[in-house]
């Protein structure tokens, strides 16, 4: 196929959103740098092939796949339940939300009902996950900015408490493997709610502390404001979701849109940015943490007694009827979707993860072109990705 043929779709007059082309005076004077896969700032094994004109980026190509393990193929070879622990390992910062997204898709496929108590537990664990993910994401962003780890350590101090809660609940700190089709695996242990309430009550103080350290900092503002700007039109067209999308001002939060789970019972607001730059993404993460704390404060006292698993759900011999379903939730990194096709057997015929981390990287090139090489690292950090999910 010739290039001309390849490009035919683009030339056909459709309004497309493409990255800018940067004119270079002397092509042979460009400095080509491969940032990664061995690079201190890449969040894992990820490579950006960057061409620099001085310190200005004129070309950038992301290269993926160093962590590819064909998660989808593995899942198609085992039962529905056996894929659940593997979802923990997608975005290993947020195993609870990964579990939920997968369980949600299977529940849609098999028509399972989730008991109310389980829904509450899901909301609580998901919001705790969101808090710790956003805190760590800010920490990593600051690390990228050269803050020698202080904000990251503060974030990890709080994250530690949340992970201890997860361990007390599910037995494991990060690889929770907690949710099941039609509910959750085990009920809350004794005293868990009280401990969680105490920790949630302390969270606003921690967020204040983090803001005192960072929000007004002139260096952070100088580095983050007006850098890595993303337009709302491009963001929507490129399927960018989560904080990245809302930082551009588009009001789209799957918790509000789909009313999945029981999110319509809680009052919370969706913070929106205006400029779509790194600072907006940082601030939105802070504000979303505050909103998550609000949800937690509502959900924790309301939690009812009752069963935690749909009686129709069973660990062995689970065979949904033929059909397909796409389920999605608002994971901390963006919209996490699972697409399943059942052929009536015990294994899914098709199992697909819609990874927010990967799709949010679609516009990395657009945001970085023309920027300083130091900003590339920042922009990349502000997307908030986990390579386990990008490469699957």
């Amino acid at each position: 196929m010739t290039t001309a043929e390849m490009k035919s779709g683009i030339d056909s007059g459709i309004k497309s959103y493409l990255p800018p082309v940067i004119e270079v005076e002397a092509e042979n004077e460009l400095l080509e740098v491969a940032m990664g896969p061995h690079h201190p700032s890449t969040h894992g094994v990820f490579r950006m092939d960057v061409a620099l004109d001085g310190e200005r980026v004129v070309r950038l190509k992301p290269v993926f796949g160093y962590l590819h393990r064909n998660h989808e193929k593995l899942a198609e070879g085992t039962t529905y339940l056996a894929s659940m622990p593997y979802t923990d390992r997608l975005d290993y910062f947020c195993s609870m939300t990964n579990n939920w997204a997968y369980a949600l898709a299977v529940e849609k496929l098999a028509g399972l009902e989730v008991p109310e108590r389980a829904e509450y537990i899901r909301v609580i664990t998901a919001e705790l996950t969101r808090v710790q993910n956003h805190a760590s994401a800010i920490g990593f962003l600051m690390q990228e900015m050269g803050a020698s780890g202080t904000p990251l350590m503060y974030a990890f101090r709080e994250r530690e408490k949340i992970l201890d809660l997860f361990e007390a609940l599910s037995g494991s700190r990060m690889m929770c493997n907690y949710m099941r089709f039609g509910g959750c695996r085990v009920d809350l242990p004794e005293g868990w709610l009280e401990r969680t309430k105490k920790i949630v009550a302390e969270l606003p103080r921690f967020i204040d502390e983090m803001e005192a350290l960072l929000t007004g900092n002139e260096i952070l503002m100088a580095r983050a404001q007006g850098v890595g700007v993303l337009s709302p039109e491009l963001a929507v067209n490129a399927g960018v979701t989560g904080v990245m999308l809302r930082a551009t001002g588009v009001n789209y939060d799957v918790r509000k849109v789909d009313h999945y789970g029981i999110y319509d019972r809680f009052s919370f607001r969706v913070p929106l940015g205006e400029h779509g730059d790194i600072y907006d993404r940082y601030m939105l993460r802070v504000l979303e943490m505050r909103e998550s704390v609000k949800i937690l404060e509502q959900a924790l006292p309301q939690i009812p007694d009752g069963p935690i698993l749909d009686p129709k759900s069973k660990p062995r011999g689970f065979r949904p009827k033929p059909g397909e379903a796409y389920g999605r939730i608002e994971a901390p990194k963006g919209e996490l979707g699972f697409y399943l096709i059942s052929d009536g057997s015990g294994n899914p015929y098709r199992y697909r993860v819609r990874p927010p981390s990967l799709i949010n990287l679609t516009i990395l090139e657009d945001m970085c072109l023309g920027q300083n090489v130091a900003d590339v690292v920042l922009i990349f950090g502000s997307v908030d990705i986990v390579l386990g999910e990008v490469d699957r």
Binding site: H39, P40, G146, A147, S148, M153, N217, E218, D253, P271
Partner: protein
Amino acid sequence: MNLNAGWASTGWTSTLDQIFVLVQHRVAELFPPVLQPWVAMILGVVGIVAVFPAIFALTTVLERKGLGRMQNRLGPNRVGPYGILQPMADAIKSLTKEDIIPRSADAVVHFLAPVVLVVAIFLGYAVLPVGRNMVLMPIDAGILFFFAIGASTELSIFMAGWSSRNKYSLLGAMRAVAQMISYEVPLLLSAVVAIMMTGSLSPEAIVAAQGGFSGVLPHWYVFTPWGFAGFALFVVAALAETNRSPFDLPEGESELVAGYFTEYSGFKFALFFLGEYLGMMSIAGYGITLFLGGWGAPFSFLAFIPSWAWFFGKLFLAIFFFIWLRGTLPRLRQDQLMNFAWKFMLPMSLLNLLVAAAWRFLGEWLGAGVGAEAIRWLACAAVLGGTYVLLGRAMLRRQKIGPRSYRYAE
């Protein structure tokens, strides 16, 4: 000039104060008179070469522990009591590590770069007064000598970056050279006020000029408006000059891996590390000499404590301040750094020169007296403070930087 101003020169305190000088003399007297100056010189050199690297070792562990505490961690605590022997472990590790020279690197220059750096930095200590009568080489143009020697470290950094044949090294070296040359201007200009006031380029004379007390408070330059501004500018420029956070772009690990010493390992890397910390300490030492009264005591009633103890105490405080900044601040971007140097630091330090001159003339013009002093003080402070606020605001506005508010969707 009264070197002994405010100093109770009696008995054991004076002996303790001069103990190192006395030891040097006693040892030198054991040799024939022809050799005596040489022996004394060698003893001084040995002292510097022994003491400052020891402080460097201590600093590395203090830095890690201090950063740890700021981040709610413990820091190194496994080697020796409280991890105090950590630098020994680091030294053994760096000595036993394989020394790698990239195949395409220029081996000779690659080897020379860290050596040149350490030698140049050590030369700077030659004229640093670390205590009363404790200067290795008392020359009249000591400050000039220090800045001249300090400027030559850029050479070694570029040698390292260029000879490694690595893109990150080269970018890091170019950043470092650009940054150091830019910040040398405000560094020098901010130091000039102290020289103007003293009327001498000799570090000892500058320290002596800051001796003496009004009541219990000393006559340090930092307690005058121009001195404070000069000191603040000096600190910022010194941070940039020594590649410390928030100006650590040349080795910004998130962008350039390790900057100009990316391709260094083992002992050569340790030499670079040593050079950096020695550079930081020497520039802190000159900051103390120029603005913080050198080895002078901060209060008249504390003058019995030996002068060298004061100097090293101040040095550790300065180091702690550097660590504190490192634990708090993210780093700037190259263009912002340059903007800051040329559009903020330079005008401010030039204005400071004018204010310092005005201070001098106002002093002569208004004469003595508390009222006159207060008028002089307030006028200078207002000019400097007002300019600082206006210039800062203009800078933020020009770059469209400021706090934001956010809207919510229900």
